[in-house]
Amino acid sequence: MNLDDLASSSGEWLRGSGPESDIVISSRIRLARNLADFPFISRATDADRAEIERILHGRIDALREAGKAPAESLYLKVSDLPEVDRQFLVERQLISREHANSEGARAVVIDPAERFSVMINEEDHLRIQVMQSGLALAEAWEQINKLDDLIEEQVTYAFHERLGYLTACPTNVGTGVRVSVMLHLPALAITRQIEKVFKSLHKINLAVRGLYGEGSQATGDFYQISNQVTLGQTEEELAKKVADVVPVLIDYERQAREFLIRESQETLHDRVSRAFGILRTAQTITSEETMSLLSSVRMGINLGLIGELQIPTVNKLLIHTQPAHLQKLSGMELDSSDRNIERASYLRRHLNGDNKGSAANN
């Protein structure tokens, strides 16, 4: 198992199954943890960072040898990887952008099925995350809790009796937990109700992020809903708060889709068909346009407007058409305009059911 194998596969969390998977892409939980006997990353010297990485590498190997962690899990020294590989891991949501771009010794442990990853020397010494397809927060908590226990057998965490797990940023102190659900909400965006929904989420202290957390303008109508508070509530309570709001959002999105079908079926069908048409025939296409069109197509499949395509294929295309994925899959370094050509070609190959990428058979 290496990075190239990972590039051509697609993770457990993208398989497009699980409860409510037409709207809920994935459920994720992460824990922030620090070793008690080292400074936090911002005050750690290069030697400290290298020592933390060395110690944790050793402890994770010990877990693998004891059969407690999957033997086939991948240990990658992120600081030694070329930029395209680091970017690839970000696109795959196995590491954060901060982790990819920061300095000093850093590593990541990756489950080959992408059910979990553990970042070493991100903002905290350890960032453990678990991913599940669909809405499955209770299962995700159960898994990450076990994983956390396993790691804790090996190291002493920074912990304070009153304040809980101590983290580099006070926004994470206490449980150190971030519970998040990635939702696909295209109909709420089309009907311009999405802002109203966000406002009500803000009122109950939930945060909204884009697909890669980079801003409010979520590319392709994908939104991550997560807790902001980490102190004063149990992990289960925090997970439940997110889990409780998701059915409401799903219901709003379904209502908005029904409204669009009822009031403007032709317009909606036209939008979906045109999106599919462009994706199958374009000769050069940007990542942003691809995401936006795949979003329409994804909704079209769920509404029965497109019959010949499956959700897991669309989920996979969303990730595989990102810049670093295209370069890994083609085995070439590509500049932006070459990537747009390669992306269009990749889409034609995967959406036309032949390998020529010809538009003639549409």
């Binding site: 008690a36 005050r43 980079e214």
Partner: protein, 173 residues
């Protein structure tokens, strides 16, 4: 968490690239919209995450003198000053939560509305890890002693570090 530009709740968490460096912003909806429409906010310098929030809190009930004195306080374990924390929004070591407890309290209330953890507790060292904290301090002091060519002091510190490390190994084995 409150918006970095006003008093409302921050619900947009934006990673902005400034000179190619990612920088995190936490804004309420209105400020986020203003920020994301480039015509209005272009070129304006953004405060790093947390610093603005902290500055707001500290400005209340503190004179300039008090604030300056507070900013100079340095954690005896990792050496970070409160000013450095305010600038970067990240703490330096676990002991900062103890050393800056009073200063951090209003911040924790503002972010979490709570000051007491009620969730999971680790099986190992559930009551904290004082000896581990001492290791952070001793290692830093040893490094400083070596830089200052105080080798005798450095070797004493090394012995203390080894004693603590050895006691950990006994406990885990």
């Amino acid at each position: 968490m409150k918006c970095q530009k006003c008093d409302r709740q921050a619900t947009f968490h934006i990673t902005d690239l400034i000179d190619g460096e990612p920088s995190e912003l936490h804004l309420c909806e209105e400020c986020a919209q203003a920020f994301l429409s480039p015509a209005q906010e272009q070129g304006q310098e953004m405060m790093p995450a947390m610093a603005g929030l902290l500055a707001q809190h500290l400005a209340v009930g503190e004179t300039a003198d008090e604030l300056a004195r507070l900013d100079q306080r340095a954690c005896p374990v990792c050496g970070i000053t409160f000013l450095q924390f305010r600038k970067q929004g990240r703490l330096g070591c676990p002991h900062d939560y103890v050393f800056f407890e009073k200063e951090l309290e209003p911040l924790l209330v503002s972010i979490h509305d709570q000051t007491r953890h009620v969730g999971k507790v680790p099986k190992r060292c559930p009551h904290g890890a004082d000896q581990q904290t001492q290791l952070i301090r001793l290692r830093r002091e040893m490094k400083e002693a070596i830089s200052a060519e105080e080798y005798e002091k450095a070797s004493e510190l090394r012995d203390q570090i080894r004693t603590i490390e050895a006691s950990f190994r006994e406990k885990t084995e």
